[in-house]
Every structure is written in C-alpha cells, then in structure tokens.
C-alpha cells in the first residue's frame, strides 16, 4: 500500500544523513499526511538507526501523526491569546458539530480535528486553520458556517 519509493526519494534528498532524521520524518508526513509504520521501518533501515529511535522521535514531537488523517485538517489554535478569547468554546463547538474529539478523525474520513499550541497569528484569535486557510476572530456562532464550506456537496454529516 505505502509507496516506499517516495520514502526512498526523501531519504535520498538528505543523502542518508542520520542527523536529518527529523527533517526526513517531516517530509514523509507531508507526503503521506501521516507516518505509516512501513515508512518508519524503511527510514530506520536506510539510516541504520534502531526503530526505537525513530519511534521515539515520532512520538515525542507533536507534529507527527501515526494514524491516517482526514481529507480536511481542522487545526484549532489553543495558544494563550486564543484561549483567553474563547478558543476552548470554539473547539467544543467544532467537536460537537463534527461529533469527534480533538485528535480524532470523523468516521467518513472527511475531517480531522487537531489542536496546536500556537500558530503565531495571535492578534487574530481565536483562530482556526482549515487545510492551511486561516479563519481569524472565530466565534462559536461562526463554526457551523465555516465548516460547511469544506463539507462534501451531498451535505452528508451536516446537520
């Protein structure tokens, strides 16, 4: 299933440098949207580092996901500035609307809801990023409409 050729290309780009393992993992995640087990094995083999070390990095850093993610990635900023302006309520509203918890993916595979500690756009908080598009100054009342833009045309999953 997992195209290991793509993984090899990425490792190649860093000339098999052991110290580049973090960068390699980042590129693999960007290519596959998550870190497939097979890809992690491959990285360990090629760089000649134990799987435990690869797994230790993959689980230490927040940027990595070990499970496949949805088509649409909804990232809710939980930084301090967003927090005091109501980010927890926005997150709760998104969780309610999509019927998943933060870190989970909807059963139809359409949405993954993630939280991030800060995206550095604090003046626009509370901030939600959907597929890289920034939605600033989001109010709990705006959530339904914002998510609607990204829902499949059939309206499945919508209220």
């Amino acid at each position: 299933m997992v195209e290991l050729g793509k993984v090899d290309q990425i490792i190649e780009k860093y000339a098999g440098d052991k110290t580049s393992v973090l960068a390699i993992l980042q590129d693999v995640q960007a290519a596959f949207n998550y870190l497939p087990r097979e890809a992690m094995n491959r990285i360990g083999e090629k760089l000649e580092i134990p799987m435990t070390q690869v797994a230790s990095l993959a689980t230490f850093f927040h940027a990595f996901s070990l499970t496949p993610r949805g088509k649409n990635i909804v990232t809710v900023c939980m930084g301090t500035a967003c927090h005091v302006r109501g980010a927890p309520r926005v997150l709760a509203e998104i969780e309610r609307e999509l019927a998943v918890k933060g870190g989970e993916t909807t059963s139809d595979g359409e949405f993954t809801v993630e939280t991030v500690n800060c995206v550095g756009a604090c003046a626009l908080g509370p901030l939600v990023i959907v597929n890289g598009n920034y939605h600033g100054n989001i109010n709990t009342a705006d959530v339904v409409e914002m998510l609607h833009e990204y829902k499949p045309a059939t309206g499945e999953g919508a209220k």
């Binding site: 973090l22 230790s56 990095l57």
Partner: protein
C-alpha cells in the same frame, strides 16, 4: 551582481545602494505578514499590481513583512506621504490609486479611528505606532524580505563590511558586551558574555545557533522578524560567527512557520551567491555556512540543550548544565546560541555603536551588562486589548503605556469590561495585576513581580478571565510539554494539574492552596531545566495576586469571572427584547420564545457554549455562578 571579494567592495556597494534609494518614490507598502495574509493581503497585492499596470502608473508595490498592527489588516501604507489605510480590500484599490495616490485626496472609510472615532492620517501618528521605538523592526514595512537589494538600499550588510574589514573578533565581542545586549529569548543573559565564552573555549570547530523555536503560545515576534527581514538575522549571525570563531551555523525554526523557513532559505542562498556566506567571505580567511532545521513542535526544544539534542537528530530532552553549550554544545563542540531577536539587534549595534544602543533602556551597564536592560524589546500585545499586534518599545516603558496608550485599553470597555491582569513571559511567566501597571518593564523588574520577560508575549486579561482557569491552562500545557526526564517537573505538574482541574469543577479543597504553593517551591528548587524551574510561576503568581479567586472556587464553588463551565449557568434576563437571535444560534435548541417576548433557556438542554451571551446585543443574557444559581432558582 557578482561576488564581493573584499570588504571595501561591499561597503562601497551598500553606500551606492543607499544613495540610489529615492525617498520620494511613490511606493505602496502592503503588509504581507502572516496576520495580513490571513486577512487577504495576497489578493490585495495582486489587485494593486494589475491596477497600476492598467493605469500605467510609476508606482512600486512593496510586499513587505509584518507592520505589527495585525488587528487592522490588511494594512497599506503609502510612501512618501506615510498615509495609513487599514482593512483594505481589493475593491478599494482603484479608489486608493485614483483619489489618494494621483489626486492626494484621503479616503475616510479606510482610515484608522480610535475608540473615540478620531481619525489618524499617517502611520506614525497612530497611537499604536507613535509610542514605539523601532530598532529591530525599523526596516519592516520598507523592504521586500525576499530582496537583498532592498536590504542593501536600507544600509543592510554595512555592519558586516565594517566588522570584517576593520574590526578584530575581540573588538566585536567587547562592543556587544559594552552595548549591554541581553538575550531576548527570555533569560536575559548578556549576549556578549556568551560570545566571549565561546570564543575562548578550546575546540577545533565551533558552532552558532539561532533559536527560532518560538514555542511560547501568544508570542510571534521571532516569526515576524524572520519573515519580514531575514537578512538582518543572517547578518547578525555572520558577525557573531566572525566574533566567536564559528564555522557553521544552524537556524532552528518551527515547522509551523513555513513562510519564515522560505524567506530565510532564500536569504541564505542569495548571501552565499554574493560571497557574504560560504568559503572565504569577502575574500578573507573567514568562512561560515548556515543551515535551516525545522522543529517538530515541542515546547521544551526552546531550551538550549534540548534544541541541540534535536538538531543532532535525537529527542529534545534537556541535560544538566554545566557544561554550558559555550564549552560543550552541538556534537560536543563549543556552541553559541542566541534568539532571533538578539541576533537581529547586532547589526545596529555595530553600525551605531554600543554607546548609542546603551542610550535606550534602564540601569547602567558600564561595569556589567547585568547592570540594566538596554535597547528595545518586541512584545506581542494580544488578548483582551483593543489594538493587538507586535510592538517594539524601549526597555523601561511602563505596562500602562503598553496596554493603554499603545494597546488602546481593554476591548469592549463600553460593555463594562475592565483590566484584570497582564500575563508576560509565556507559559512559565506570571500574571501581573493593575497595582503594578506603572512599574517599568525590563528583565529585572518583571522578575521581581514574580513574572519574567520571556520571549515577549504580553497577554491582556479582563474581568471575564478566570485566573484559576488560566493557571490550569498553563499547567496543563506544561504538563503535556514536560519531557518527563526529571521527577519534580513531571510529577509536580501532574499533581498541580489534578488539583487545578478539580478546582475549576468546584471540587477543590481549601488546603489545596497551601499544597500548590508547596509543590511550586519544590519544582522551582529541584527541576533540571528552566522549563521545570519556572513551571510553577503561573500558579504562584496568580495565588499571590488573585488568591481570592481561588478561595471563591474552593469555598463556594463560584467562578467570579463566569468562565468555569461546571460552575456557571446562563440565564435570560429582563433585558431580553425577544430579538430571537440567541434562539437561532443556540446549537442545542435550548432557547425558546416568541418574537418580541422574553425568551427562556432550558438548563437541561444547555451545554454552556456561550453562543447566546456572545450574540446578544442587549445584555439580555446573564452568567450566574455558585450561590447565585441556587438563589436565583428560588426567586
């Protein structure tokens, strides 16, 4: 342009580029920082370019880095007049060019107004900018960060030419020490001292690191400096490498900052092409290369030994110091590590001299850089304040001036919101109440108040911010981010989190207050790294200044700020006009009522999301807490 082969060639080129910059050239400077991009700056820039071409005008469109006033983005400043337009949309472009640029007429609809509706015409008159003093941000807004020529035209790389051509490495170190520059990453250690340690350390190779792992939630100045003026940081690093004797440098930047990564990589490529980086810089024996490392999103990697471990390809766990990185750093070699903002101050110190730099700020640094705080500091002013964004202010300015003069005071003050506290120093900082608003802001003063400078986050909180909940938020954040290596930090945070989470649910005990203080003291004394040593600050500082809020939570299950959802109830009061907006917006259908009649909220269905409170324009929704709930029920 070909490679510079002597320092004199560079100096000469910069002088010519400066002279060639026409100050009267008509330029439209559009902020394309992350905030303004989120508000649609890209489409705006494209619209300007198309319209200027269609009209055949001799006007330059500058796509610049962050101007700072993110709240009002996208921002447009017209040069040379300095007219500021805010919240500009592509449909405004034709009007701006025709009326303002060509005829000199102003467009009131795009001008900035303060809360009293007073119009401010020019950027430098707007209170948000007026009280600032910009050293690091001086060029943002005037240059395209992707253009090294723009940087040259503002005097960029002049300092490098001077250093390599005329100064010995030790002289550079002494100049930085004399300036009093202290680390902008938070701890405030004298930058020049670190440089000297690295210079004097034994080692066949030495390294330099730029810490751009800006993990503090609520802070984004490093992002904006790297995005808006990457050559400034790079020039600072090259000068540092010359002074420390380093041959290789690393910029460790957060992966969440893709534009910063792109801009700095572009800057490195261009500087290398021109012989400002690489082998035999400016034809001398000095060689220096810079690499970019993307972080993996771990807060603890802002700690220098954890950051170094991460660059080496390991988990970001800190280690015991000493040895300090200046003795044994990256791959065991002497390593000097400074924050983005620290590096960005270096070229100006060289150009204008240490005495000029030390002329701004507090204290006396003639004997030791620890004698005061010099220069400026960038703060990200965010939270419940009217004007949010990045502000660069002289050290020693008061908190009041930042929050009220620059920040324009508390958001929604007309609806009765009042100032409660300002939180500085990131998650390990502290909350400072209004009694200390007139204290000067510098490294040592903030520490005395139980907070710290940190990387410069400044989060304003109003009377609707619950301090117990804020402490819980920071402790839960730090609990997740603790690397788990040392027991006081790992277990201390876990215990604190348990207590605070009980408190916000109304299940706290009075004796928990003493227990929290006890835990905090232990963590401060016994933790391995700065993360653990400062992790208790949010709890200790809120206990110090807002103990009454804790007491209300534990003794009366009451949240005075009306924020802790397990302790509150929303009620629709007699001010309800029956406008029906809350009933329409309520996600659970808990609100019912006829048009123009007072509505009713069914507590059984209410999930306390607060939509009704947010959307009501008539103060028709009250928040009750603790004994008030029982009291009101009896009515």
């Amino acid at each position: 342009m070909t490679k510079f082969t002597t320092p004199a060639q560079l100096t000469d080129h910069v002088a010519k580029a400066k002279a060639a910059r026409d100050p009267n050239k008509v330029r439209v400077s559009v902020c394309a920082g992350t905030g303004c991009k989120a508000s649609g700056a890209d489409a705006l820039i494209a619209a300007f370019q198309a319209e200027i071409e269609a009209r055949g005008l001799d006007v330059e469109v500058l796509s610049t880095g962050c101007h700072g006033f993110c709240e009002r983005g996208p921002l447009v400043v017209l040069h040379p007049s300095g007219v500021l337009y805010q919240k500009v949309k592509p449909r405004d472009v034709a009007d701006i060019l025709e009326k303002t640029v060509q005829k000199g007429e102003l467009l009131p609809r795009l001008q900035y107004r303060d809360e009293s509706r007073q119009i401010f015409e020019k950027e430098h008159d707007v209170p948000f900018y007026k009280h600032q003093e910009r050293i690091v941000f001086a060029m943002n807004g005037h240059i395209d960060p992707r253009s090294i020529d723009d940087y040259f035209s503002m005097g960029g790389y002049e300092a490098l030419g001077k250093v390599v051509g005329q100064m010995k490495p030790d002289q550079v170190v002494e100049e930085v020490i004399a300036s009093g520059l202290r680390g902008r990453g938070g701890a405030g250690f004298p930058a020049g001292w670190k440089w000297r340690f690295t210079r004097q350390a034994e080692g066949d190779r030495k390294y330099l690191i730029c810490n751009a792992d800006e993990g503090d939630p609520g802070a984004f100045m490093d992002r904006s400096v790297l995005e808006g003026n990457p050559h400034l940081v790079l020039e600072g690093m090259i000068i540092g490498a010359y002074a420390c004797g380093a041959s290789e440098g690393f910029i460790y930047v957060r992966n969440e900052y893709p534009m910063a990564v792109r801009h700095i990589e572009l800057a490195i490529a261009k500087a290398t092409e021109l012989g400002l980086l690489g082998q035999h810089i400016l034809g001398t024996d000095f060689s220096f290369n810079v690499h970019v490392n993307r972080g993996g999103g771990a807060f603890v990697c802002g700690e220098e030994t954890a950051l170094i471990a991460s660059i080496e390809g390991r988990r970001g766990s800190p280690r015991v110091r000493p040895p300090f990185p200046a003795q044994k750093g990256l791959w065991g070699k002497p390593t000097n590590i400074n924050n983005v903002e620290t590096w960005a101050n270096v070229p100006t110190i060289i150009n204008r001299g240490s005495a000029w730099f030390a002329g701004t700020g507090t204290g006396d640094v003639s004997k030791s850089p620890l004698g005061g705080s010099k220069g400026t500091k960038i703060f990200s002013l965010v939270g419940k304040v009217n004007n949010t964004g990045l502000v660069e202010v002289p050290m020693g300015i008061t908190l009041r001036k930042i929050v009220f003069d620059i920040g324009g005071g508390i958001k929604d003050s007309k609806k009765g919101r009042t100032f409660k506290a300002v939180q500085t120093g990131g998650p390990s900082g502290g909350c400072i109440p209004d009694a200390y608003l007139d204290n000067p802001v510098d490294f040592d003063e903030l520490a005395k108040l139980g907070s710290m400078m940190g990387s410069g986050g400044m989060i304003v909180m109003d009377d609707r911010t619950c301090m117990v909940e804020v402490a819980r938020y920071f402790v839960d954040f730090l609990k997740e981010e603790s690397c788990g290596k040392c027991t006081p930090c790992r277990e201390g945070l876990r215990a604190m989190s348990g207590i605070l989470n009980r408190m916000v649910r109304g299940q706290g005990r009075h004796e928990d207050l003493d227990l929290l203080e006890d835990l905090g003291r232990t963590m401060k004394t016994a933790s391995l790294c700065q993360l653990g040593q400062t992790a208790a600050n949010p709890v200790l500082s809120t206990l110090r200044y807002f103990r009454h809020e804790y007491v209300e939570h534990v003794d009366h299950a009451r949240c005075p700020a009306g924020q802790c959802i397990d302790l509150i109830e929303y009620r629709i009061n007699e001010q309800c006009t029956g406008c029906t907006i809350c009933a329409k917006k309520c996600p659970t259908g808990a609100i019912t009522g006829q048009n123009k009649e007072r509505h009713v909220l069914d507590q059984g269905k209410c999930v306390r999301c607060g939509v009704c409170f947010d959307v009501c324009n008539f103060n028709g929704v009250s928040i009750l807490s603790g004994p008030e709930i029982a009291g009101k029920a009896k009515e």
